[in-house]
Point group: C2
């Protein structure tokens, strides 16, 4: 097999430090974790003791484990939030979020998956999207989504007694298993897709420079347009449901007003949920993932720059400010960890104007730093030291494990699969240089495209077999990955190869799951006829010389393979 | 002529607001200034009255006009100094300078000329390098330099009673008129070239990956190497002199130690000069323009990143910290304006590793923002409000006029030429949005390559005649000038054309001077034989069928015309 053939070229490599997994009850991490563990086992164990003690004291003080609010939004390059000087040159500002960064941690190396669906699935499960099959970006209809077997942070925290809620853009698929009330949330209101459907409305005709071309009501009569079922016109704006209860559609496409109204509703419900649980014995966990904007933009402008995303974030900033004030008024701010972050880099490829590179090359979909490094802030007054700019690597999957640790819920993390997220409680509570991670494997789609180790980076795609090419980068000296170095970086060649082999070997024991595919939008209580039609497939079995179900199951693994990126396996 | 033919295409354009130049004794600015003046005449006049009053009060309090220290170094992109978060991702820090930015003004739109010699000439004269012929980057031998007729800020402030000194890299040429003690400085120690000669030493052989190839002592015998006078081996490391006195060479090339020792000497003399003048009746002006580093780099590393420039700036930061402490100890910090800035963008083209883009596209030599926007800090405790991040446009030439204003020396600014620099005292003392400039004409070499107006930018080079091409940029939304906009920016077409015509029409009345060329390194008291040889020319008149003097005078106006950039005139 391919992994083995790769192995023969690096014949002497063994799965280093594997014996450290001494206890079958330990969480299983990726190989690289054990390399660090072998070196820091004692230090980390001692540190964990101190941290556990601190968490116990906090629990004593507040009568419960900390509340967690996780706010994640779209497509923002690292540096655009939390650094007022950069906002100055872009003609906008987010004073509230900048203040939270100044009063807490401003992470400079928060890594994510390079696009929405993978990133959201990764933070939800603590696992790279490649492991759980969520490496495709979903569009109506996606015919796929988060599998029932995946264990989300909501499920883990629920088991430990948390009240849990989701409001916003999930983008985790349109199959029934992906519905968020089926994935551990007590209550949820979510959009299953991204913001692109906001262009699938008659009003999109107004923007003549960016004509939307999907729906026939946007055009004059076309006598050649004969397949009435080809377009996904049963898509939904949003769904809502409670744990164990039915799911209902919210708003009716293509009514654009219904879509725009959702954003208010997300924040309103989040506020209600926080108020409702503030004085309860149960701590709460809220995933508040704003949809930010319709792709149609706002009718007025609140920023000088006027970029679509900046306009949305400036508005979101006001909401964030209000939410923090609310936590203060409820006197729970010092028992609430707030994480604010983007889900991936800017949509520089075919995105709206104003979505641009800031410090790094590339954006959404790219394995260069611009695709996978995002602004991220941690705020927890009295617990997290203010004024920290943190240079450590942290990966979004680490939040899964860290939230579980803070919530006293690690025993509910499954032990039968690799959890990429490592526990970063030390980084949150003790600060700079305390990360338990110095590596990131960067997948784009199903492809392992690059690996980061500290300041160094190896591009796997584009590498030449035989003589090593200049695919080695020093991210301090060449942050834009503009000129790979060959000669000075030769010592890194084997080290990166060994890292990759370790990573792939772990997959032999814990294989990736494939994509989870099914007909979309099933089981919606108030489904419209066109939605019901879609949930059954357009062609019934027996009506065609193929099985429609088979078609769905065999949708391409990755719809961008023709982009010219080399495949690594 | 060409300007006229351009004019006929925009036939209705007149030199707007020219009548505002009512008084022959007024400083002559570029056309665009008068467009703003027409709109803000009353406001600015009232504001100037308040500011003058404030300066008079300060003079009363301290018994003299403010001291000015202007620190300018090489090749740093805007954002790399003064924004700790950006330094975090590059693996280095300048805590002292960052603190000065936090305690004063952090300029986000300080524009310069796009390379060393032009930038240094511009700040020295308050004029674009194209006007004074200094648009070439000098190398040994340059056979050119700042003309005697140019009036420097040192001359202007000297006239008003300032003690003046220059220490560091001048890069203003090697002809006698350019010697800094001939250009208004009471005392000066300067390197006439850039740092590249530091590679013209035998020790450069150590760096086998970047072999220096200019000097025969670096190679074995070459029987084909027959012209003993071809190489500029009479170049000097540094010169020193006092106003009205002789000039002497300091250090002997290719002794690399002599070159490295200069940096200490620059800072030592600056410190001595400050101490000497601290309690004097005369205010002082110091231009302290560090050479930072030899291109050979430092034998040890003080930063994690380790880039050549970052290593140098981290070291310089310590010196800056000491200098500030010294001002405090002398109790003159509250009467001393300190400006810190780079001279142009990073040397991304053929430069050393670590010289990279940060927020903007391009670097040294480029007319994109990356070439011409630099980090800049203004610090003046008690006078400049701390904590300011300023989004206004300011151009390095403005410092000339502003320093003169602060020094009560504007009457010594010549009235027979265009002074590009406008008075930015209001911006320094009253802060954000108080700039008197919303425009920059960007020259690279002798070419007017782009024009900035507020957030908008027009690239002149590369523009197509006839139908307008997509050369219009919105710097808020597209800071990297990645995708010019045609349709949404159409209204800007005529506006930019009018701006250009105004600018060119002013040149008819006040023409650019050509380059000032002569044999190099004349009149050095302790000149070595090879330097004396160079100062006479390699071939004497009469020994050849051409006049060597003629050759020097006709050196190409711009040695990069084959770079493929279009010429605008």
């Amino acid at each position: 097999m391919k992994i083995r053939s790769f192995l023969t070229t690096v014949a002497s490599v063994a799965l280093a430090a594997g014996s450290l997994v001494s206890n079958a009850k330990d969480i299983v991490h990726d190989a690289e974790h054990y390399v660090l563990l072998a070196q820091y086992k004692d230090k980390w164990a001692a540190q964990d003791k101190t941290l556990d003690q601190k968490l116990v004291e906090l629990e004593k003080k507040h009568g419960k484990r900390p509340n967690i609010i996780h706010i994640m939004w779209d497509d923002t390059p690292v540096g655009e939030i939390g650094i007022p000087a950069i906002q100055k040159v872009r003609g906008w500002e987010t004073p509230n979020m900048n203040q939270l960064a100044a009063d807490g941690i401003n992470f400079m190396r928060m890594y994510t998956e390079p696009s929405c669906t993978p990133s959201r699935a990764a933070v939800m499960t603590g696992r790279h999207a490649k492991r759980n099959g969520m490496y495709n970006v979903g569009f109506p209809y996606e015919y796929g989504g988060l599998a029932a077997e995946e264990v989300t942070i909501a499920e883990v925290l629920s088991e430990a007694g948390y009240a849990t809620a989701f409001y916003g853009k999930s983008h985790l698929g349109d199959v029934e298993s992906s519905y968020l009330n089926n994935q551990g949330f007590d209550e949820a209101l979510w959009t299953p897709y991204n913001q692109v459907p906001s262009l699938y409305v008659p009003r999109a005709q107004i923007g003549a420079l960016s004509a939307a071309v999907m729906f026939p009501e946007m055009f004059g009569e076309d006598p050649y347009d004969i397949d009435n079922g080809w377009r996904p016109d049963g898509y939904v704006w949003a769904l809502e449901g409670k744990k164990g209860g039915p799911v209902r559609e919210v708003g009716t496409p293509p009514n654009h007003d219904d879509y725009v109204a959702l954003e208010d509703e997300f924040w309103k419900r989040a506020s209600e949920f926080v108020r409702k649980n503030a004085k309860s014995d149960k701590p709460f966990f809220v995933a508040l993932w704003p949809q930010l904007t319709s792709f149609m933009g706002f009718p007025d402008r609140v920023t000088a720059g006027g970029g679509l995303l900046q306009e949305a974030l400036a508005r979101m900033d006001v909401r964030v400010g209000k939410l923090i004030k609310e936590l203060e008024a409820l006197e729970i701010d010092d028992n609430t960890l707030v994480i604010l972050m983007a889900d991936n880099g800017p949509m520089t490829h075919n995105g709206p104007p104003g979505m641009v590179e800031t410090l790094y090359t590339g954006g959404k979909g790219d394995y260069t730093e611009g695709g996978v490094r995002v602004p991220a802030i941690a705020y927890w007054p009295g617990v997290i030291e203010p004024g920290q700019i943190i240079g450590d690597i942290i990966h979004e999957t680490d939040l899964f494990t860290t939230f579980a640790t803070l919530g006293g819920a690690t025993k509910h993390i499954p032990r039968d699969r690799i959890i990429d997220g490592v526990n970063q409680t030390a980084l949150l509570l003790e600060g700079d240089t305390q990360s338990r991670r110095d590596y990131v494997h960067i997948y784009t789609g199903p492809v392992l495209a690059a690996t980061v180790k500290g300041r160094y980076k190896k591009h796997w795609t584009g590498a030449k077999p035989g003589l090593s090419g200049p695919e080695f980068y020093d991210l301090y000296s060449d942050p834009r990955e503009a000129s790979g170095q060959l000669l000075p970086m030769f010592p890194a060649k084997s080290m990166f190869n060994i890292m990759k082999v370790r990573h792939l070997l772990m997959k032999e024991k814990y294989p990736d799951k494939g994509q989870n595919r099914d007909f979309p939008l099933k089981g919606i209580e108030n489904a419209r006829p066109e939605t019901i039609e879609a949930s059954k497939g357009r062609v019934l079995s027996g009506d065609a010389p193929f099985d429609p179900k088979d078609v769905i199951q065999n949708l391409p693994e990755w719809d961008n393979v023709d982009r010219g990126w080399g495949l690594s396996e």
